[in-house]
Amino acid sequence: MTHAGTTAPTTAPTPPGADLPEHQESLWRSAEPKRSYDVVIVGGGGHGLATAHYLAKLGITNVAVLEKGWLAGGNMARNTTLIRSNYLWDESAGIYEHALKLWEGLEEDLGYPILFSQRGVLNLAHTEQDVRDSVRRVEANKLNGIDAEWLDPDEVAKVCPIVNVSGDIRYPVQGATFQARAGIAKHDYVAWGFARRASEAGIDIIENCEVTGFVADGDRVTGVRTTRGDIAAGTVALCAAGHTSVLLDMLGVPAPLQSHPLQALVSELLEPVHPTIVMSNAVHVYVSQAHKGELVMGAGVDTYNGYGQRGAFHIIERQMAAAVELFPVFARAHLLRSWAGVVDVTPDASPIVGATPYENVFLNCGWGTGGFKATPGLGWAFADTVAHGRPHPLVAPFGLDRFVTGALVDEHGAAAVAH
């Protein structure tokens, strides 16, 4: 607007926003369901989309990804985006380290920015037993070719100067493991990148399509019933995370899963203060700082079973108490928002991947509080499993039968709280 007495602009005024780029094209096709697919993936989160992407690389593209809500709107939208591979046992090292190697090349593979930032992770030790367990895990990691080192408190302070390493806190920091290759990524971009690639390859991504039942014929499932009609399937791949039990109840397949709320929160945007990721199992908190500047913090699960995508406030209160003790500089930060996802927890804190009693139904669940970091590795191995009709060696140790044989992969020490 030109006011009297001021100089009129030399060019015609433009409407607000005219200099902004056009709304970009959709990253994936919104497909109508066909009546039949070679592979039907149930669950359009990170794992389902990654499985679709790697199936396409194997030349299998007559595939549908069914998502009951919107794409990547469940745990993929709610996790704290931590990526690391410093688990204790060989079986876990295999799948998580494979995933980390794929993360390191994923931006190039997807042709899409995922803001993968390898800023390292500190796992703090607060007791003598913590120290012994941590040193053992560092050595186990090294034997598996995973980068790991043990740091004393002074070295911890060099990596992350804002951690309180003084002796006057309730649980003093006695040292930490450090994996320099660990990092964070922008979870939405990861999902969108996988969805774009899968869609380009001809895979149908179908949102607002909830599976309501299965059509079985003996030991085969011939199709899925959905809110958008029946869809025939050559093979069914379940990637439904916290809602896996709901699907398995429809199939009559029992699994040792308990679904819990898991809460996380972010602060307001702050100047960069936190250069790495810090996790503490003992005091139940893990913290990183997102690219935009929010402090992202997660806690342990709410103890009761719950599908409500919300949790109790006292869990957040305890988490904040732990965070402020470890990071006094956070004391005046404001909580911006908190939320919860539904995580499927197993008795040994390891996932369940592989065969089911139905010969053409494959299961991927039980990642509990830490499935995001496995996204590309799981997608790669699960696609191979689905394509060849048998568990890929990287996921073979994680079959449902381990609860009968007793060959558990106990990762409570590396996974129970902190992810």
């Binding site: 040792p256 899963l257 103890t303 409500g308 109790a312």
Partner: protein, 99 residues
């Protein structure tokens, strides 16, 4: 934080209670005869319904007594509370798995 109605103490804050998981899981009548498959079911497998769930709770920071509850896992609303024996009888409200 929600209030949980302890059958003996009345409504108290959730933080006073601890969760005990699925109610009415019977110990095997003849343990020596169980197969590995049956032991796996008893040790590791519990129902995980989306909806009403018969559970055990304990009033840890109060009377320290166990009790039974039926709680909706979608809304977290307690539909009923009572002695464990009463919850055992309510296990039939669990949705049946459709094979």
């Amino acid at each position: 934080m929600q209030l949980i109605a302890c059958p003996w103490c009345g409504p108290r804050e959730e933080i006073e209670f601890s969760y005990g998981g699925q109610a009415a899981v019977a110990y095997p009548a003849d343990p020596a005869s169980l197969s590995d498959e049956q032991w796996a079911r008893f040790v590791f497998f519990r129902d995980n319904p989306k909806g009403p769930f018969a559970e055990r709770w304990v009033h840890s920071a109060g009377c320290r007594r166990w009790f039974g509850a039926v709680r909706d896992t979608r809304t977290y609303e307690f539909l009923s509370v009572g002695p464990l024996s009463a919850t055992t009888a309510r296990t039939s409200v669990l949705p049946e798995a459709t094979p």
